[in-house]
């Protein structure tokens, strides 16, 4: 069956360090993968999209990699700040549908001052 895994435990990072979050998937061949940020009680907010033919995408302090051989995406936040504390979700198109994204459960990131 199709499956997406994100770090289930909360990730605690010291302010200023790089936070790295992992998204692994099985039994998919996604054309693209997306990362979203979700704050408590709020809707997810889009951060980055990376396509299957792209190895890396950057946006300010954010970097996403996509390894279709390993079936893994890594999401990095450099020079992390307490304001980066949130839950980060990865989502993939399921390869068959034009409409539906498959969502990971999210990783809670806590940046300590």
């Amino acid at each position: 069956s199709q499956k997406i895994e994100q770090n289930s435990e909360a990730l605690n990072i010291q302010e200023g360090k790089t936070a790295t979050l992992t998204c692994n998937y099985t039994n998919y061949s996604p054309a693209y993968l997306q990362w979203y940020r979700q704050d408590p009680g709020r809707g997810p907010v889009f951060l980055l999209l990376i396509r299957e033919n792209e190895k890396e995408k950057r946006k300010e302090r954010l970097k996403v990699t996509f390894d279709t051989t390993l079936k893994q995406s890594l999401f990095h936040i450099t020079a992390s700040q307490p304001a980066d504390s949130a839950t980060y979700l990865c989502a993939l198109d399921d390869g068959d549908s034009n409409y539906q994204l498959i969502w990971g459960a999210g990783t809670k990131l806590i940046i300590k001052p």
């Binding site: 999209l49 989502a91 409409y99 969502w103 999210g106």
Partner: protein, 112 residues
């Protein structure tokens, strides 16, 4: 900046009552979605809507659920007879042709 708006932000209802959650997607978007998130759990797909009809729905989206786009702007989710387990945050989202989804702030539904 354009945004997806949802009303109400919070609704409390008795089990068995009908609930309508409303959404105004971004005006030039073509694809519309409803998602559900039970407290502490993952975002779950309910239904997608394109070209004035349902394009996909999940197994959660049973006969108790329906969606409508009654005019050019609103997109509604109706739950005919609410159950306790329908208590959740309901998110509306929309997108153009690209993959990026724009979410509303959600409607919290509490069924007593």
């Amino acid at each position: 900046e354009p945004e997806v708006t949802q009303t109400p932000s919070h609704q409390v209802t008795q089990m068995g009552q009908e609930v309508i959650l409303r959404c105004v997607p971004i005006s030039n978007h073509l694809y519309f979605y409803w998602y559900r998130q039970i407290l502490g759990q993952k975002v779950e797909f309910l239904v997608s809507f394109y070209n004035n009809e349902i394009s996909e729905k999940s197994e959660i989206f049973d006969d108790q659920f329906s969606v409508e786009r009654p005019d050019g702007s609103n997109f509604t989710l109706k739950i005919r007879s609410t159950k306790l387990e329908d208590s959740a945050m309901y998110f509306c989202a929309s997108r153009e042709n690209t993959g990026e989804l724009f979410f509303g702030e959600g409607s919290r539904l509490t069924v007593l």
